[in-house]
């Protein structure tokens, strides 16, 4: 099988990604430890969990702002744009994950220089990066300075609502992380995606591109 390597994940991006992963993990673990704190079975001692959670939250905010600026002002932002016909592409990708992957069909939207994310990756990264993460960061900062929170919202405590939003958003990120970790294995081989995120090089399988062309030709003939 003909393959070629492209340098898709530069060092700074890998460092950012892995740092994010470590911070998110530490936030999730310390968050769970605080939310389900129990004197008899402490996961992490409460005060230590609070400190780690606060420090990680501040670092994650800086890391978020850094990458947000990059998305806004560099060509990397194009990977996140969900163009015309997105819904159709999304369904094709979903069909692949539900059926095609078990039949040995080629990836419908393989990685290349122009397209780093498939449609499902695009929408999930957009939701997590541009909706859920900002919610956790804003509510997290609000709880770091609780005097800034509105005391009463329609009869409910503002702090309680902020905290609920924070916990729900944090939980959603932990679910994303779980699926994200599993999808490491859904590359050309089980380890190929992991390898790419370590070395920065992504292996492009020329056959994949040709298979997709053939498949789409077949569909149009029918």
């Amino acid at each position: 099988m003909a393959t070629k390597k492209i340098y898709l994940y530069p060092l700074w991006l890998r460092i950012w990604h892995h740092m994010n992963a470590i911070l998110m993990l530490s936030l999730i673990l310390t968050g769970i430890s605080m939310q389900y704190s129990n004197p008899d079975y402490p996961l992490i001692r409460f005060d230590i969990a609070v400190s780690i959670h606060n420090i990680s939250g501040v670092l994650l905010t800086l890391s978020y702002i850094y990458f947000f600026v990059i998305i806004l002002f560099t060509s990397i932002g194009r990977y996140y744009v969900m163009g015309q016909g997105f819904f159709k592409s999304f369904l094709i990708q979903a069909r692949y994950y539900i059926l095609g992957i078990f039949r040995g069909e080629p990836h419908p939207f393989p990685v290349n220089e122009q397209r780093k994310f498939n449609p499902i990756q695009q929408i999930s990264y957009n939701i997590v990066q541009h909706a859920i993460t900002p919610i956790t960061l804003i509510t997290g900062w609000a709880m770091l300075y609780p005097e800034t929170i509105v005391l009463n919202v329609f009869g409910y405590s503002g702090i309680m609502l902020t905290s609920l939003l924070h916990v729900i958003a944090g939980f959603s990120i932990s679910v994303f992380l779980l699926i994200h970790l599993y999808f490491i294995t859904v590359g050309h081989t089980v380890a190929s995606n992991l390898k790419s995120m370590i070395t920065g090089y992504h292996e492009i399988h020329v056959d994949d591109e040709e298979d997709i062309k053939t498949n789409s030709d077949k569909k149009t003939k029918h």
Partner: protein, 331 residues
């Protein structure tokens, strides 16, 4: 003349509507007004003539001159606060010596021994629910009583002229906490008052509590005694003040579903463990939010179900992929 709406004599009905009922209403309201509003008697008003002001005047009995002096802040009484306080119905000489009616006050008044709570409330059936005897026992075990002995009494914390029994009221938690903590800070936040009680340097509360995240929030939302006193189920407010080293320092003692705050700060409202919306210790959330103590039962269940479903989904997907790969490789 008897007025008749329908042109007929109504008799008893008429007297009932226009005579007896208004009288009963008037009597009811006059009684309730007497019950709720305390009033100063003439004797007490005379005392307040000097004691409600930062300065007072008296006539020098030798020279006959009128002398103006500064009223010590501890001897100043705020009439509004006093009249609304728990003991606001008393006149000054109910608790103080009648010698105070002499001006200038004679030297004997300087050696007056103040009443303590038990002097009036001890063995009093009317106030049995307060368990004043247990309060006294608990107080005698406290670090205040053991370190300062006779120098420390009920009045050291509970200013009798402003003391108000309000811990049962729901709402305004911040005000209740501030009022409670103000009693502690009278000495623990004031070098001079602290020095009067003990020959020791006043510890800096901000430094000694620097382990608390969001320190100011803790100070505003929790009473000092919630961490610094041992709870006793038979009294409403803990009086067994503990030495610093025995006080609560573990966060999880409050930040967990078995939060000790439910046995102290929220004792009066702690009739429910989980409220209708599924929050543990829901009563806290009327006025605050305590991480770890206010988790939600339904969200807990939903999150566990979602997590398990995701893991099962991943496991099925991975297994199917493995089977496909095995078949393709001809195993």
């Amino acid at each position: 003349m008897i007025f008749d709406f329908a042109g007929k004599k109504t008799g008893i009905k008429y007297y009932l509507i226009f005579g007896i009922l208004p009288l009963l209403f008037a009597a009811f309201f006059s009684v309730s007004a007497d019950k709720t509003e305390n009033q100063f008697d003439d004797e007490s008003l005379k005392c307040l003539g000097c004691h409600s002001s930062p300065r007072y005047e008296f006539k020098d009995t030798v020279t006959g001159d009128v002398v103006v002096r500064k009223m010590h802040s501890e001897l100043q009484i705020d009439p509004v606060e006093y009249i609304n306080a728990t003991h606001g119905a008393f006149k000054c000489t109910d608790c103080h010596s009648p010698d105070f009616n002499i001006h200038p006050h004679p030297a004997s008044t300087r050696f007056e021994i103040n009443y303590n709570c038990l002097d009036c409330h001890g063995g009093d059936d009317m106030y049995a629910s307060f368990n004043f005897e247990t309060i006294e026992e608990e107080f005698l075990k406290s670090t205040h009583a053991s370190h300062m002995g006779e120098g420390f009494s009920c009045w050291s914390c509970h200013n009798p002229h402003i003391y108000k029994l309000s811990d049962k009221e729901i709402g305004q938690l911040t005000n209740r906490v501030a009022r409670n903590n103000a009693a502690c800070l009278t000495c623990h936040g004031d070098v001079n008052n602290y020095a009067v009680l003990i020959e020791k340097e006043l510890p800096d509360l901000l430094i000694s509590h620097d382990f608390l995240p969001n320190q100011s929030l803790h100070f505003r939302k929790v009473r000092c005694l919630d961490c610094h006193a041992a709870n006793n189920d038979s009294i409403l407010v803990a009086h067994h003040l503990l030495p610093a080293e025995q006080s609560v320092r573990k966060c999880v003692e409050c930040h967990s579903t078995n939060s000790i705050l439910m046995a102290s700060l929220y004792k009066h409202q702690a009739y429910e463990r989980r409220n209708k919306l599924g929050f543990y210790n829901g009563v806290i959330m009327n006025e605050a939010y305590v991480i770890g103590a206010n988790r939600n039962y339904y969200l807990n269940v939903a999150s566990i179900v979602i997590f398990i479903m995701v893991i099962i989904g991943i496991a099925i997907h991975a297994t199917l992929r493995y089977i496909h790969r095995r078949n393709n490789n001809g195993y």
